[in-house]
Amino acid sequence: MLVENRKKHVGEIPTSSMADIAFLLLVFFLVTTTIDMDKGLGIVLPAEGQETEVSKKNITNILINAQNKVMIDKEIVDVSAIKPLIKQKITANDKLIVSLKTAPQTSYETYLKVVDQLKLANATRISIANQ
């Protein structure tokens, strides 16, 4: 009878193409994955209302004016000269805080060059001052 016949049909999912499908997905994710991460100079801003007083001898002022000239402790220096200078200062005083002051018209490029130099000199305490 027809009714008995039905029981013999067992549904099966074809698994032979499974590897192909997996390969396809794999290739898709391989292509879309980007390994290169964002990179840059990291800083941590001070939280609001966290301004603290520090004694003057632990501070080195770096000023950058609107003409992108850099001044460390009342002396105009070249950007590339910042690294050895700050390194020297840090070895002399490990509590040193570098205070970075910029003019409104200072270019961001120069500012970042200075931050770059400070990072190269392993200056961890950098304060970004505001007028």
């Binding site: 390969f23 994710f29 991460m37 964002d38 840059g40 200072t106 500012y111 130099q117 190269l120 505001n130």
Partner: protein
């Protein structure tokens, strides 16, 4: 004289476990992939030395802020005025406490824009900043 091999060894790579291996690779890439979400603004990034640069180790907690030469601010592909940055960043910061802000700012920008942006970030409590740069040296 003719040497005959003592044993006949068939060399075959077992392929039965291949789908499993592929699946494992697949799952690895699926987990690690973060799709590129935003296009941003056209900016000329400044450059910094390799030793000074820090790589962001995650993409999940990063919010991108673009600021182009004209001072247009773009956060996650929407442009905002400087007054709105605080509110927007506060919202993002509240959703993700581990937030890192990747600032992609044009090198021609003036510090007044950068500083006011810093102040807004501070007010929004988004304190971890990464100045996006190119690498030199």
């Amino acid at each position: 004289m003719k040497f005959s091999r003592k044993t006949k060894v068939k060399t075959e790579i077992p392929t039965s476990s291949m789908p499993d291996i592929i699946f494992m690779l697949l799952i690895f890439f699926m987990v690690t992939t973060v799709m590129k979400e935003f296009d941003g603004l056209p900016v000329l990034l400044p450059s910094a030395h390799k030793d000074a640069i820090k790589k962001l180790d995650t993409k999940r907690h990063v919010t991108h802020v673009w600021v182009d030469r004209l001072g247009t601010i773009c956060i996650n592909d929407k442009t905002y005025k400087i007054d709105d940055v605080r509110t927007v960043m506060w919202g993002i910061r509240a959703a993700d406490p581990q937030l890192i802000v990747s600032m992609k700012m044009d090198k021609g920008l003036k510090m007044e824009t950068v500083n006011s942006l810093h102040q807004e970030m501070r007010k929004a409590d988004a304190l971890k900043i990464n100045y996006s740069t190119k690498t030199i040296g």
